[in-house]
Symmetry: C2
Subunit: 454 residues, 2 copies
């Protein structure tokens, strides 16, 4: 992995990172930003070092959409994930700094935020509790870390063993158990507001989903990681879509935090604490994963990225807003359904086809081994006419369609293009959706639901 | 992996486990026992299934102390660890059942354990907090899970990549950050009681170690996992020593819990919740790892086992008592120091020597490539005379010593023996130490420190 060594830049990054972490005002938000910088620097250095070791133990893959078909290290998401988890661990004391520096010696007066517990039988263990310490916040944060780490483990296991769908499908919901307990205990809202125009149908401004709301959150935890994982296949796409979604969430958080005395402040702060360091490590990963890629990210990264966003959605109480940022992923999933459920043939890989002569990517095709059902054929032809699918016929017979992914659709619509241009096009779409979602959430939502919760 | 299939037993185990988990009294302690049973059954079934998959991805090792040198699956600790983590995740709602069933509808009176938070700008998000919910307990439990999962990841990484000592040595201390934060916030005791006979030296009954106590706890987190990992090399030893240590801790917990209205009840309950399921999965693992082993456990298991005990020691506020149960490991470490620090030659592996003719194990030797320093030679000869070391001379010159591990020492003292007998001997020692430690802790400690905290 040839690499220019901007050592000076790294040293500067480390210095700035440390200065921010140990900022004189002990502001958690600034420390958090510092950890993002440190995480970015660490990731930047570790990927080229770990790459060859990963190849050695068999975690590698061929870059199929290139002439050279180079073997690149896989599962670099494991490196990114570790650095990210380190940042989150080290951040704990900084996050709670103001509560931890409470004077602990002295009389142990409850008003001073201390409660002394004396065991009469044991003079040696005079315990004390910092009564003003926000245990609920600590529990939230730890539950987030636990869920993220669990998905990290699932990701690595999947990269190593290629686990079957039926065996892994529900695992993210189990990883989300700690989150849902915290949600239940500290918030417990299962009531959703319904749009103005259908309120008469329900005779109420909102409906209580009860237990179903927990199922919904579990579904979000399952959907987010998997949807990023299947919207992949060209250099840089997994990482850059995650970056844009993360930036959208960050912008949404900032829109809330900018307004003081808002009840949603705490939950958006937590979201920011989790998203900011993730964006840091993601930037460095993108450097190596962008076209032409020097490293692959593996399921590990996709799962982790999706789970970061699911976690902040659930703990930040905006698990519905989060889905707006996932619209391209939702479309990609819905568009894939005919192939995922085998209504249309589904080859093992659906990544675009690389044209060796032109060096450009073209839509890859699913060839029919037997003629499709007339209804299916009619629908496919209609989609073809709407330019929503590449349809290939021979002698008036349907022989193939383009594989049903958003990536191939972009090639159907935009014609053959080079891999990096394709990623850029898809990235622009993600960015547009993110901006649109932010505007929609904070303007149109007011009209539809009757209020905005900023 | 040939294996009789006691399907009936498993079905019965599952039924009993489920009945215990969903016990009508909703007693967390009974549910926890149920999860241990379920964990044992799941581990029992998964190891033979996962073994071949692990061998396929290269996680395998030769059983060198046998004639056949069979290739066995390695890192079965990963399977055990996953099942264990699943048990701990699923246990969360059962652990807090009594707090979660608090009525959530109604007026939201603080006295009823509810606090309603209304955002005036957002009628849709009327949150509520279960004020009586023990957030501190949840935070403790989650911090434990997080530390355990971190060590699990470190273990798997070590099994995959064989990480260098200097790169992994301090990692357990980082994994222990959440534990130490919880310790600081909810207990904060850094004062240790000193024995009667040296109290005059300090002019006090106890001394406050302050920050040093946190360093001590970090050291415990580093020591426990590593000490189990280096006290290994013969079939079943890692697992059976962990089983005995776990049983000792369980007995200690029960001694506390049997006395009602004790301030230490909560912390020993937590210890029990963590240790019990671990013992369940450990029993099943031992079935496959006992001589002649059908599977190896890997660093993953050793690290996880050590961390379970470090975690309960720290969160249960008995991190000093825990070291009593680790006396064989401490001796093994201290005895190994001359080789670990290269004062005496240290070969790559120090496991016993397998005598192909007799089928028995003999002490393995460290051969001197150059004559040892006279002082070192004198000390080694003295140890030899005390029967604490095998010393091998040729023409009056020291040519080799037995490798300095407790395993080899047992062979020096007891003569050659078969692998399973060796494990049994070492296991008996561990059991004796455990019993002795329990007696010492609850009787002699009263004499030395002037009180017992039961």
């Amino acid at each position: 992995m040839a690499l220019t060594k901007p050592t000076v830049l790294s040293a500067a990054g480390t210095a700035v990172g440390l200065a921010l972490v140990f900022n004189p005002q002990s502001q958690p938000i600034i420390s958090c930003f510092g950890f993002s910088v440190l995480g970015a620097v660490a990731t930047f250095h570790m990927i080229p070092k770990m790459g060859p070791l990963f190849i050695k133990v068999g975690l590698s893959g061929k870059d199929l959409l290139k002439k050279e078909k180079k073997v690149l290290p896989e599962t670099m998401g494991a490196v990114v994930g570790l650095v990210y988890m380190f940042c989150l661990f080290f951040f704990i004391p900084f996050m709670f700094y103001q509560y931890l520096v409470t004077e602990t010696s002295g009389a142990g007066n409850r008003d001073e935020g201390l409660e002394i517990t004396v065991d009469p039988g044991d003079p040696g263990t005079i315990g004390r509790t910092l009564t003003k310490f926000p245990h609920n916040k600590l529990a939230s944060y730890l539950s987030a870390l636990l869920s993220l780490q669990s998905m990290f483990i699932l990701g690595v296991a999947d990269d190593l063993f290629d686990i079957r769908w039926r065996n892994k499908f529900f695992l993210p919901a189990i990883a989300a158990i700690p989150l849902m307990i915290v949600y239940y205990v500290d918030f417990g809202v299962t009531r959703i507001v319904i749009p103005h125009f259908i309120q008469p149908l329900f005779g109420n401004k909102s409906i209580d989903l009860g237990f179903l709301y927990y199922l919904y959150m579990a579904a979000v935890a399952i959907f987010c990681p998997n949807s990023i994982n299947i919207y992949a296949g060209v250099n840089g796409l997994e990482v850059s879509q995650s970056l844009v979604i993360g930036l959208s969430i960050l912008a949404n958080d900032i829109l809330y935090l900018a307004r003081p005395h808002n009840l949603a402040t705490e939950s958006h702060l937590l979201s920011l604490y989790l998203v900011l360091p993730f964006l840091g490590v993601t930037c460095s990963l993108l450097y190596y994963n962008w076209w032409p890629a020097q490293a692959f990210v593996g399921d590990t990264y996709c799962y982790l990225a999706g789970m970061v966003y699911a976690v902040v959605g659930i703990l930040g109480h905006f698990s519905k807003t989060i889905l707006l940022f996932f619209l391209p992923q939702i479309f990609n999933f819905a568009y894939s359904v005919p192939q995922l459920f085998k209504i249309v043939e589904c080859p093992r890989h659906r990544m675009p086809h690389f044209n060796e002569k032109t060096g450009l990517l073209e839509p890859s095709k699913a060839h029919f081994t037997k003629p499709p059902h007339p209804v299916v054929a009619f629908v496919l032809r209609t989609l073809g006419k709407l330019k929503l699918l590449g349809v290939y016929e021979e002698d008036g017979k349907l022989v193939a369609v383009s594989n049903m992914t958003l990536i191939n659709l972009a090639l159907v619509l935009g014609g053959p293009m080079r891999e990096d241009k394709l990623t850029t096009v898809l990235l622009s779409l993600q960015l547009g959706v993110g901006l649109g979602a932010l505007i929609a959430r904070h303007t149109i939502a007011t009209l539809v639901f009757g209020y905005d919760n900023i």
